[in-house]
Symmetry: none
Subunit: 202 residues, 4 copies
DNA sequence: CATGAATGAGCATTCATTCAT
DNA sequence: GATGAATGAATGCTCATTCAT
């Protein structure tokens, strides 16, 4: 390992730290109660840097938004993956995953909304969305399969069920937005109850 | 009934006819393959009127969007209501309702997308959304209740099932947008299969 | 001729009048002693219109610059053409043409400079430049040919002489810019003297 | 001569070497086929130095441009001077000088264009331009005078002729830019032919 | 009622220059 | 001397809405 590599690594770490700081500044700005639209200057000021500096770490505003969007999705996925592999009963994990998803997405609702309004879903590479959904579905499948193996769940098509479960979760966020009702609790419990009813061994 | 009233009615009819024409122009414009964003001028030109004239029929651009959004949702709801009261087996009606929803929403995908990106869901009166969702849920409930009465469906919580069903439908649209996959067929069949599995009499 | 045509014509006249006013405003702004660079807002303010209004008459800033550049070149060419066809001795016309060119270009020096610095020559259609130069050359040729016919000039290659004459004129502007000497008189007289010496009948 | 002086000289040489390297890097950058505008960073990178380092050798970007412009003009002038003092017939030297000028300027067209678009002519010290033009004119004068002494050229005002000749050369570059025609050959031959015709002994 | 020209606020991005290391 | 990250000013263009005709 040469001195050059050490230097390069230090640079890389600094670069990531700066990105991280800007990312957090963006979350702050977007989450403000009076937030109207994302202005680069606001993010820069929140991060205590000059606007031009921000452009050393993100190609442009859209690039920043992509990053924010990706980071949040990764956060959610990370929670799902972590919980799904816990050594606990399947139904408990199912419940915890739902709680985690609704908690994280609910907390950053404004960010997800902004990403959607900015057309991020349209612009992000399909592959990225596919991978994300695939990974999330896989976690649900694993939990369902475990539950069936445990004999706690009756035998159903785990993949299909997982996919529809994910659709329902996404739909809950969308529907509640229409109702401006951000207490996802009832819907989450409804969903869980229905799933458990569906999976009830005969 | 005075002459004034007759005149008023004529006015009202003309007013609605104009709104209708503008609504259709908006659908045309939004549906264009190269559509980027909704410009009032484009709608006016498509409707063959002056921009100023449009403002005689809609308070502002947002108002027009609300109208478009509402009309489309009413169209979908209308289809759901019509099908749900047909004298046919519940499972047939369930299938037809799903087909109808996916067909109409799919056809006007660009419009729903635009409404969402414009923040219409956030801004429209809660009551309107609640009523719409309530009506749609009621249709599903009716069909499910009929199916149970017929003995074709096992007995489940019809309201809860209807709500989750609706969430799942909404979620399918959202998820497919992420995947830029606008063939809703597979997801629709997955959903129907799962529901029928769930409702299978023991 | 229909009413529509009358209306259209009126529109066209108004449109041209507006373009003309903006053109003059641009000349004013560019000619200011403290002029640094062309800002659309400055032109609009000088023309007493809003910035947006300017964009009803010119597609963008570059478009305005093209217009200004073309108008000025046409002005110069117009002067050349008018003088070259006067019923006067060739040498008198030659002198007057030179005086006219140096007068007009000198007066709008800042505009020509700006056009050049903005890369207008690079971007304008070659054909336009070719036509302009061709027309100017033709005027010189005519005068030279007339002078030869009159027996006042000795017989030389009129086209070649005209072309070089034009190059020399252009070069004088360029050279004087280097010297920041905007009294073109001496060079103009040098040029005329040399030409007359060259054309002196044996 | 003290040690200090030796050190100073070494410093000076190193300084000039660095300037030279940066100058060449600038020529490279400006000459790139996709060159759009001169960015200090691009020059620094081409010269394999940091941007800040460049500022140790040039006060600012304009200063660098002045240097580039001056060096190129000196190059051209050097060619002119060298050729003008060759022991050859005047008309041969005249031809060679023209060929040399058009060759060098043609090769570095992009640089001259940039200098002009950057307003270098306006900003550079008058004295420098005057000296340059004076020297070039002197070379032409010398050649013309030699030609007259040789009896190969008829007797004309050598200074005036030289000045106009220079103007015409400059004008040719300018005119061809308008026409986006970078084959100076025809104009150069036209010019030479006209001059020789003018100087033809009776 | 219809017209459509005029309005003007609002914001991303670049890049020459500096200066702490 | 060398480095290169940080700075921040500066500006063209869009488009919803108005209102005089």
């Amino acid at each position: 390992m040469s001195a050059s590599t050490i230097h390069d690594r230090q640079q890389q770490v600094k670069h990531q730290a700066a990105q991280e700081a800007i990312y957090e500044a963006a979350l702050e700005v977007i989450g403000r109660p009076d937030f109207k639209g994302l202005r680069v200057q606001d993010v820069a000021r929140q991060a205590s840097i000059a606007t031009g500096t921000l452009y050393n770490y993100f190609k442009n505003k859209e690039d920043l938004l992509f990053y924010v969007d990706r980071r949040l999705h990764e956060t959610v996925l990370g929670r799902i993956q972590e919980i799904s592999s816990r050594p606990e009963p399947a139904s408990r994990r199912l419940n915890d995953i739902l709680e985690a998803i609704f908690e994280v997405v609910g907390r950053h609702r404004a960010v997800f909304d902004l990403a959607e309004r900015s057309g991020i879903p349209d612009k992000k590479p399909v592959e990225e969305g596919r991978t994300l959904l695939g990974s999330a579905t896989a976690c649900f499948e694993k939990v369902l399969a475990d539950g069936m193996a445990e004999g706690r769940f009756r035998s159903v098509d785990a993949r299909r069920t997982s996919r529809i479960l994910l659709h329902a979760i996404v739909g809950i966020f969308e529907t509640h937005k229409y109702l401006k009702d951000y207490d996802y609790g009832p819907s989450r419990r409804d969903l869980l109850a229905l799933v458990e009813d569906y999976l009830q061994p005969v």
